[in-house]
Amino acid sequence: MLISDYLGVLVLFFLGLLVGVGALAAARFLGASRFYPNKNSPYECGIPSEGAENQRFSVKFYLVAVSFILFDIEAVFLIPWAMTFHPLLEAKEGLYFLTVGFVFLFVLTLGLIYEWRKGLLDWNV
């Protein structure tokens, strides 16, 4: 039975939800309430908030995220490849396996080299 294997995942999801919501609800009911307005001011090391609140950040972070998703998908494709290693080696098709995988890894490496040469990986320029 396939679906029952996932029952544990579902149970754990609800347990996690229970812990999260339960702890916050308990804190809400049990917690002290000695409120004064300054408690709710944004944290700024004690001084009033300065500067633009919605400042923009470096586009470098975006480049990191893009590199991550593209390489992540390549890693996801490498896992099926790695899974077939032993069966294909048994079937005496090791050469085919190596060619396919190394071409893919070569393309992956080209991407990495491109990023490196272009300076996308240098953080602090």
Binding site: D5, V9, L24, R28, N40, S41, V64, A65, T109, W123
Partner: protein, 362 residues
């Protein structure tokens, strides 16, 4: 009791054991261990007043967190601010569904055939842990965005960029484990290293994996997002009371999960010693250990305890490193991830295939 009842009881028992251990035992004990070890390294006493050796300190802290006022600063985005800590706990809880904590066993003859000590037997194995682990980024990103504070946003951007970079490195290291073991199923991976632990052919992979798990759990030397000297405490600057407590709890649960993953992937899981598995020592995992008074325990408790000891060692390593290794600078962190670990990961995959093919040919 008929068979279905036993099966359900077994299922519930597995969940209760892991869930109880992670939230009720490991996380509180680790908080205490962390403070005591820190004190030991810094030549202080550490918490020693509440209970024997200060062991009840965590309980006291928990009660304190519960009794704190539930603050919600004016500038925050209301729903997402509460959502972030909840999202943080859920993946941490879900991630250990596929972690096996002992060999498949009949529990001393209770079952006709060996059953796995694993909450969910998924086909995709450790990929599930990676998938669920990658969701931790959301809680951090949301926490920063919802706080609407410049320290929080910068801290969460840093934390998420760091987590995703090192997740990639960990993924590449694990591809070579799949090459070595020929499976993604954690039980099969452990069975494939009965004699030869993956740490020997996959030492390079482990060298990539270790910093990656440190960075993924945002622990020193990679705790840049929290860098209290420059960013207050990063993404949870605005969080206090129990909301902060949930982030804190999830960090320790995540540490447990990744430590267990490292043990299962590279250190033979519950096996005794490299080249010397339990069955060569004479321990039958399906047998019983007689105790006094006619009682007996399933022998699977021995490999389980051994596995727990290995995980505990890794947890200790986390604490030890935290108080001895200085923090990286952010550009060093990024260049370690992208310019060292990831090229090394690709090289390692090629090396591993070459080693296995060479081994087969000879």
């Amino acid at each position: 009791m008929n068979e279905t009842m036993i099966a359900w009881a077994f299922f519930a028992g597995k969940i209760l054991l892991l869930f109880g251990l992670a939230f009720g035992f490991i996380a509180p004990i680790m908080v205490w261990v962390e403070r005591r070890v820190c004190a030991l390294i810094q030549d202080r006493y550490g918490p020693n007043r509440v209970g024997p050796l200060g062991l009840l300190q965590t309980l006291a802290d928990g009660i304190k967190l519960l009794l704190k006022e539930d603050l919600r600063p004016n500038e925050v985005r209301p729903w997402f601010f509460i959502l972030a800590p909840i999202i943080c706990v859920i993946p941490a809880t879900m991630a250990f569904a596929v972690i096996p904590f002992g060999p498949p066993t009949t529990l001393g003859g209770l079952f006709a055939e060996p059953k796995r000590l694993q909450i969910a037997e998924l086909n995709a194995g450790f990929l599930y842990v990676l998938a669920i682990g990658s969701l931790g980024v959301y809680s951090i990103a949301l926490a920063g965005w919802a706080s609407n504070n410049k320290f929080s946003v910068l801290g969460s951007l840093r934390a998420s960029a760091q987590m995703i970079s090192y997740e990639l490195a960990a993924g590449l290291a694990l591809v070579s484990v799949v090459l070595l073991s020929g499976s993604v199923d954690l039980v099969k991976i452990v069975e494939s290293q009965t004699y030869l632990w993956n740490i020997f052919p996959g030492f390079l992979a482990f060298l990539i994996f270790l910093p990656a798990i440190f960075a993924e759990t945002n622990r020193t030397p990679f705790d840049l997002p929290e860098a209290e000297a420059e960013l207050v405490v990063g993404y949870h600057t605005e969080y206090s009371g129990m909301k902060f407590g949930l982030f804190f709890l999830a960090e320790y649960v995540n540490m447990t999960t990744v430590s267990a993953l490292a043990v299962l992937m590279f250190f033979g899981g519950w096996e005794f010693l490299p080249f010397l598995p339990w069955k060569d020592v004479g321990v039958d995992v399906n047998g019983l250990i007689p105790l006094f008074g006619g009682f007996s325990l399933p022998a699977v408790i021995i490999p389980f305890s051994w596995f727990a000891a290995k995980v505990a060692f890794f947890m200790f390593l986390f604490v030890w490193v935290r108080w001895t290794v200085p923090r990286f600078r952010y550009d060093q962190l990024m260049s370690l991830g992208w310019k060292t670990l990831i090229p090394l990961g690709i090289f390692n995959i090629i090396l591993t295939t070459a080693v296995i093919v060479f081994h087969r040919m000879s």
